[in-house]
Amino acid sequence: MKHARGEFIALFRARWLACLPPSFTLGLRLFLRTTLQTLSAHEKLFHILVQLGISERFDKTFIDVMYDELEQKILDSCPGIWREPRLEMIRKAAKELEERWLSAVYGHRFSRTENNDWFKNAMMMVTGRLDHFISRTLVELRTSEIFDIVVDFPDTLPAIQDLRVCCPFLFPLSWLPGSLVTRVNQRILQPAADTDDIITFYVSLIRCLRIIDPQGVILHKVAPPIRKYLRDRPDAVRCIVKRMTDENESFMQEGEQVVPIQQVHEAYDDYTDPHWLPEPVDAGADFRTTRPMDIVSTLVSIYDTQDLFIKELQHLLAGRLLAVRNSPLDDEIRNVEMLKMRFGEAPLQVCAVMLKDMSDSRRTNTHLHGEQSHPLYTTVISRLFWPTIQPVPLKMPGQFKELQDGFEAEFHKFKPDKSLKWVPQLGAVSLNLELEDRVVEVEATPIQAGVIELFSERDTWDLEQLMQKLGGIDRVLVQSALDFWIGEGVVKNEGSRYILLEKAEAAKGVSQRPPPVDEAPRVDERDKQQAEQMKIYWQFIQGMLTNLSSLPIDRIQAMLKFAPGYNRSVQELAVFLESARKEGLVVFTNGAWKLEKK
């Protein structure tokens, strides 16, 4: 009897199931999903489905229902949520769903059979497939979001960590580089993007990918365009160096080791090799440690030489050292020591001399003035080891001259074989001006101080007189110093005359306050030096204009790219050409530059 019943059921199922149209699968799938919320109410339904053989025949659809449900769950709870881990939560939900679902659907059948091992195996297989499905779905989602995740890194670390857990299932992530490169091109490698932002992005990208893909396969594909773009940006070196030496910047992560740059170049050569292949997956945990590459080294290796960095460092350090007053030099010393570890002792010798000049100066000033405070503090520098400083023929008047002379005489007694040469435009002065009705306290540049000192001798001057009294310095410099004092309400302008305001003319002074003039001498120096360095390229420009008679600026810029070490922007070139025009070397007609005929 039992046999006959079995045969009947088998026949019934075979015939009946064969009648079902193909669209039944989809219908079943959608229908089953509606039962998920109220599973316990459908006990009978699932019993019938088993009886009809549907549960067995359409077992794949019963699994698909879980996929659908989990996909929905991921799409509901993950997009745009990067600041907290999601994967664990979804895996837990999957586990819970799976148990609930499978025991509801097949529970009937299996609870009454002894074949529990088979059920457990089946469960395990399903669990594995679900897990893979979750990983794939989440990786697909995060891949589409990866650009913004990188931009917001490290706040988005949880999302990145989720990805790391998912990725081993899906190695290699062939689609990640493609989508990333597109977004990077659209959003980052644009003329409007700030160089600092590009660097920040690159650094975040390195950090993110180091987590997701420690072997660096993805980075190897994504980084080259960024590196090339940065190489062509004239201010990139400056930005990198500035951040390298900024103590608030965390280019170094905990546990990272400073890597001497030479070693970096060896590793970098490997990466640029067109035949370079990633180490196999089983290369082992020590793959990284044999080729260490910290962030700074990675950034420096964008360039073929370190010279640019050293020059920029020297510049930056010079600016910072001359800006420090009496604060300790510890930070700068530590910085230079750290950089020595990277670039080696020799290239940083220049910086070491600069630091020594600073500490020697401190000793000299203390020796000359004792411990009590003296109005003049002089930093004595070793000329050849500092950025070129164009002398301004400024002659400080009055008490400033006396202070200088006094210091010079004392210095010569202390160091008889040396003499001093002032760089009068550098430095800063704190002044107190006692006027009839008020006291004005200001921080001024030496030129501003020189101008106001002259007003203490006589209260009316014109521009020419001031220029002459200050040693024949440029009109622009005197004018901007006067503007400063007009802004402070200390001097007023009447026709060609400038008059000291012993009594404040409040309302007028304020309303006439000119826009602040950026007069930081460092900037001044920097521009001057750039103009000076630009002169090296004059012979190239002269050469091409001789051969080609006249050229628009873009062509000149393009051709200068072939000149060794040329890294100027078109704007910088334009400034230079304009100054060459003023000197009567070139003329500008019909949108093109040509040489002035001699």
Partner: protein, 103 residues
């Protein structure tokens, strides 16, 4: 108006006082560019090839013949057999001038 200087942070660079005429002139700058050690061809204000720090750590030495060198360069030269204890520039016997060396 009374101007009081509370604090003035000034910058100057040092030069060897080689005692050459016109050394104190403002327009001595251009000549100074040419002031290099006759042995190593490096500026006096730079340092000799064996030194890292310029200035007091790598001082100059004056000869009675009026030639000036990095002290280390000259001592190295005098230590070679071919020097015959002569000034490398004029081949006169080297006699260190008293004036500048110790202060």
């Amino acid at each position: 108006m009374k101007v009081t200087v509370k604090q003035w942070h000034a910058v100057a660079y040092w030069r060897w006082d080689t005692g050459a005429p016109g050394d104190q002139d403002a327009n001595a700058d251009e000549d100074a560019e040419e002031d290099v050690c006759g042995i190593c061809r490096v500026s006096f204000e730079g340092c000799c090839p064996t030194c890292k720090m310029p200035g007091d750590d790598c001082p100059l030495i004056w000869g009675q013949c009026t030639h000036v060198f990095h002290m280390h360069c000259l001592l190295k030269w005098l230590n070679t057999a071919s020097s015959k204890q002569q000034c490398p520039m004029d081949r006169r016997p080297w006699i260190t001038a008293e004036r500048k060396v110790d202060r």
